[in-house]
């Protein structure tokens, strides 16, 4: 009976589901996320999976995991260290154990702890038998066995029956945290509508898992994490790739242009192609090209035709697209280039995150080839960033690089759905007639933006030729004139620099106004940096944070802001690419904080680095060790385990 069990309050929990690539851990995590979202928690997720589709079963290579951080307050990261690990096999346990703090809860599927699987995972002895896990709260449960028994009535093969074990696990963890279950049942009913036996088995496994938690003596406590206060509005949970795709659709609607996506499948960007291919009714054409170059080439051709040309890729694809982006710079046509960054160089770490393409985006072309660069800071923010990138591309007739990354592409968070009336209008302002007497000058510029006219084929009287050879100022014919080239190179740069005129002032988060240390970030490090700054502030330190959406050009007030602080720290998932740019442009002694592990920065570690800098700048001592003393801890490295982390509110 539920009433017989104790319910404890928690302010936040991090759960990680881990299993074999084929165990359905991404789906399980996704469902748990949806349950938490509909319950009203703030949340942040971190899917983590191998590049191999089905790596050898039971091996460390094949471990796939999904981490969900949910809270009764505003949180910024998916969390450094899980409070709860669900391990479906020995490999999942071994691969994730190192991330767990002492006291963490571990639920293992004992069924898979066979001699063979233990050997595959590199265990000589069963860790469940000895003292290896003494520091954790281990719950050995025969998830597979109980699942198979529970779904017996549906007459599935043993293999199919066992496949529902992820839903058993989901049911159990859903019970532990009082998650609503209707959404998952509806989801399963819909997903397996065509195979009633599988549908019923999954729903039964899910319910059985829940009931097991409620009745077994093994779990004596369940937990409650109350909804988080959020700004009024309608919310949904959204991944970065989905938000980015929606942003592109919205950019088409807001500009009145059809959207043309030319793309080639690449991890982790393919989901944007998949999503956009579903929205033809909104005027979106998707073209799966023969290669990356053809993808961007077709997009540029569509831009020439008067569509919003878009291409989506990751780092290796961006390298291949460089020459065409250069052509877009020269022809001064709007073009959106989305790079969902992954670990590099070369093929690197396809399914892991990194932000090491910034300099490629900035400089990865021949000649003086400036391109505006925009980066989203969180999954939901991908929507706004895509709209902003489109605004710049269309207004300034230029290719724009949009730098997302694997973490925000696959990660999710609650997103307040914007009112479409509030979205910015984008005016394509096509050329409709001559612009100098009776003549049409394709390279005559707008005085404010320096943009050239966008005259699309089909417009009588504006026939003109563009191309990769240097253009003569105004008339746009081929010109080898030295002075003209110098002028045009400077003008293309000046045009990109003019984008800064349209940017709002930066928002510096410096609550006390006494900070001497400024932390500057860009892209997906927003969460870890924000969480780390909160920790430092809770320990009494003063630190300021500014996060850049625009990497090229930089906002006009950035130089002045940097000059205000004694120390500037730049945390990045690369070896210091933004800090290189800041040093070059502002002669600021930017200090790097750099990790390239294919994973998000850990807030606790970053807080230590910020804390040290703050301590030396202010001549004080900061003790960051006791994060647990703050109940409303916004970062993941709080108390060791939720069992002891009862809310005091």
């Amino acid at each position: 009976m539920a009433s017989a069990k104790q319910v404890k309050q928690l302010d936040r929990v991090i759960v990680r589901f881990a299993g074999d690539s084929g165990d359905g851990m991404q789906l399980t995590g996704d469902r748990f996320t949806s349950e938490s979202a509909s319950f009203g928690n703030d949340l942040s997720t971190l899917p983590n999976f191998p590049a191999e589709i089905r790596a050898p079963q039971g091996t460390l290579h094949g471990v796939s995991s999904f981490q969900v951080h949910f809270a009764d307050h505003d949180i910024l990261t998916p969390g450094d260290a899980p409070d709860v690990l669900v391990a479906m096999n020995p490999a999942a346990l071994r691969a994730n154990l190192g991330d767990l703090p002492k006291g963490a809860t571990i639920i293992v599927d004992t069924h898979d702890f066979t001699a063979r699987n233990l050997t595959k995972a590199g265990y000589t002895d069963n860790p469940l038998d000895g003292d290896d896990l003494a520091e954790y709260q281990v719950h050995p449960v025969d998830l597979t066995g109980m699942t198979v028994a529970a779904v017996k009535e549906f007459g599935l093969s043993r293999k199919d029956a066992a496949r529902a074990k992820n839903m058993f696990a989901l049911g159990l963890v859903s019970w532990m945290y009082g998650r609503p279950t209707e959404g998952t049942e509806e989801f399963l009913a819909k997903r397996f509508a065509k195979v009633p036996d599988i549908r019923d088995a999954n729903i039964t496994a899910f319910r059985t898992g829940w009931n097991f938690g409620e009745t077994t003596e093994a779990f004596v406590v369940s937990y409650e994490v109350k909804p988080a206060p959020m700004a009024p509005g309608t919310y949904r949970n959204i991944t970065g790739n989905l938000a980015l795709a929606y942003g592109l659709v919205a950019a088409g609607v807001q500009s009145g242009l059809p959207v043309f996506l030319g793309s080639y499948p690449i991890t982790p960007a393919s989901d944007v192609l998949h999503e956009l291919s579903k929205h033809k009714d909104l005027g979106v054409t998707t073209y799966q090209a023969e290669d990356e170059i053809a993808g961007v080439g077709a997009a540029l051709g569509a831009s020439f035709a008067g569509h919003l040309g878009v291409t989506t890729t990751s780092g290796p694809g961006l390298a291949l697209k460089s020459e065409t982006i250069g052509l877009a710079v020269m022809t001064e046509l709007p073009l959106l280039v989305v790079d969902v960054q992954r670990g590099g160089p070369s093929t690197g770490l396809p399914t892991k995150t990194e932000q090491a393409d910034l300099l490629q985006a900035m400089y990865g072309r021949n000649g003086e080839s400036p391109v505006p660069v925009v980066a989203p800071q969180s999954p939901g923010d991908c929507f706004d960033a895509a709209l902003e990138a489109a605004r710049i591309a269309i207004t300034y007739r230029t290719p724009v690089l949009l730098l997302s990354d694997g973490m925000i592409a696959n990660g999710s968070e609650p997103w307040r759905i914007p009112e479409t009336d509030d979205l910015p209008a984008i005016d394509p302002a096509f050329a409709t007639g001559p612009n100098e007497g009776d003549a049409f000058m394709p390279y005559l510029r707008d005085a404010e933006t320096l943009a050239r006219p966008w005259a699309v084929p089909g417009t009588a009287g504006l026939e003109h030729r563009i191309g990769g050879l240097e253009k003569g100022d105004g008339h746009g014919n081929i010109s080898y004139d030295p002075a003209n080239h110098d002028f045009m190179v400077r003008t293309r740069q000046a045009k990109v620099d003019r984008v800064a005129d349209s940017l709002p002032p930066l928002e510096v988060d410096d609550p006390t106004g006494e900070a001497k240390v400024l932390v500057v970030g860009w892209g997906s490090t927003y969460g870890p940096i924000g969480a780390a700054c909160r920790r430092v502030r809770r320990a009494g330190g003063h630190v300021a944070q500014v996060h850049l959406r625009h990497l090229n050009p930089f906002p006009k007030d950035l130089g002045e802001i940097l000059a205000r602080y004694d120390k500037v720290l730049v945390p990045e998932m690369n070896l210091g690419q933004l800090s290189t740019l800041l040093r070059a442009k502002y002669l600021v002694d930017a200090i790097g904080y750099n990790h390239v592990r294919g994973l998000p920065l850990k807030a606790a570690e970053l807080a230590e680095a910020i804390g040290e800098l703050v301590a030396s700048a202010d001549g004080v001592e900061l003790d960051l060790s006791g994060a647990g003393h703050v109940t409303r801890d916004a970062d993941p490295s709080g108390p060791a385990t939720p069992v002891t982390q009862e809310a005091t509110r």
Partner: protein, 367 residues
């Protein structure tokens, strides 16, 4: 899983491209000529093709602003600058990719690609074969001079083996492409070959290519007087051309060689037991066995066999004309039809549909 595309009947010819008002004065070649000075070498075959295109474009009866030329890099790729239409001189090898976006985005455009043997068959080979396979509505003029001209004389993917050039002082060891065979292998729906110096043939082939819906590939033998002069002398020289050119005319017997009293050549083609075709003396075979050219047959096998009669080495003999011209739904028509189909099922404004898209899924409201 596959699905019936349910695409409406294929459109034909230049359907969708606005035509001139029938009462409007006829356009002239001059109107299609831009104010830019033509900068090819004296004697270059490109001049003849440009002139032919400038004078035949008005005959299409299409609005000039609805014609777009896209080129890559190379001597011939300067072509768009000299035509007063919309144009883009793009980057090396990529013109078919860019033209695919242009053609897919806009049914109302007549899209042309101008490319060369290096541009189309070397650096841009991938885009060429994929455009052909997709059958995107564009006309590709492939100027084949069998040499790299703009980079000053290296061998190209159509140069004959053994060719001595700046980059192959001991002779090229590369085996050349036969562009027609390649295009047929990629299932091109319109594949033809013509010669820069034969204005009449060039114009007739280009007219047919322009009228074809889908990807039309026209290989144009084009002489480079600077780096590969005389490459096509055998088929151009008055004394040798009758023996060198195998003319392909749909529905007619394929005959060549110095014409006899009946005006027909003494040589013809017959099928071989191995499935190919071979040249025979007409007098040696039963007249019923002589091959009659059928460009419209769906099976490209015979067209391919005929294409193999082209010399791979120095050119002494080549079939000229339209090898294949068949109807197949085009990529761009089908892609647009899918968008139209989806839009036909919509309700509400684009704005409302955006709102329901982003507001879909599982949502919750905070008051």
């Amino acid at each position: 899983m596959t699905t019936d595309l349910g695409i409406p009947a294929a459109r034909t010819g230049t359907d969708g491209v606005p035509a001139l008002d029938p009462d409007a004065p006829k356009q002239t070649g001059k109107e299609f000529t831009s104010d830019q000075e033509v900068r090819w070498c004296p004697g270059c075959g490109d001049y003849a093709v440009l002139k032919a295109v400038q004078s035949f474009l008005p005959d299409l009866g299409l609005r000039r602003e609805n014609i777009a030329f896209v080129s890559g890099i190379g001597c011939s790729s300067r072509f768009p600058y000299y035509l007063d239409t919309y144009g883009m001189h793009s980057i090396h090898g990529r013109a078919p990719a860019i033209a695919t976006g242009l053609a897919t985005a806009r049914e109302d455009l007549s899209v042309w690609v101008v490319t060369g043997d290096g541009d189309a068959l070397s650096i841009g080979g991938n885009h060429l074969i994929h455009a052909l396979r997709r059958n995107v509505n564009m006309t590709i003029l492939l100027f084949n001079n069998r040499i790299y001209g703009l980079t000053k004389g290296q061998y190209s993917p159509t140069s004959e083996a053994g060719k001595v050039t700046k980059s192959t002082p001991m002779g090229s060891v590369d085996h050349p492409f036969n562009p027609i065979s390649l295009a047929l292998g990629a299932e091109g729906t319109f594949v033809a070959r013509t010669i820069d110096s034969d204005r009449k043939h060039l114009t007739s082939v280009l007219s047919a290519a322009a009228a074809h819906r889908g990807t039309s590939l026209v290989e144009i033998y084009q002489n480079c007087p600077i780096f590969n002069d005389g490459a096509f002398d055998a088929i151009k020289d008055r004394d040798t051309k009758d023996e060198a050119i195998i003319p392909l005319v749909h529905g007619e017997q394929i005959r060549f060689g110095t014409p006899g009293e009946d005006g027909l050549g003494p040589k013809g083609l017959v099928r071989t037991a191995a499935g190919g075709v071979e040249v025979v003396e007409v007098s040696d075979v039963d007249a019923a066995d002589l091959l009659v050219h059928d460009a419209h047959t769906d099976d490209p096998t015979t067209a391919f066999a005929i294409s193999r009669l082209t010399d791979a080495g120095y050119l002494h003999r080549a079939p000229i004309g339209i090898f294949r011209s068949v109807e197949r739904p085009t990529y761009d028509d089908q892609a647009r039809a899918q968008v139209d189909l989806a839009q036909g099922e919509r309700t509400g404004s684009r704005d409302d549909r955006l709102a329901s898209l982003i507001g879909g899924g599982d949502t919750w409201t905070v008051v």
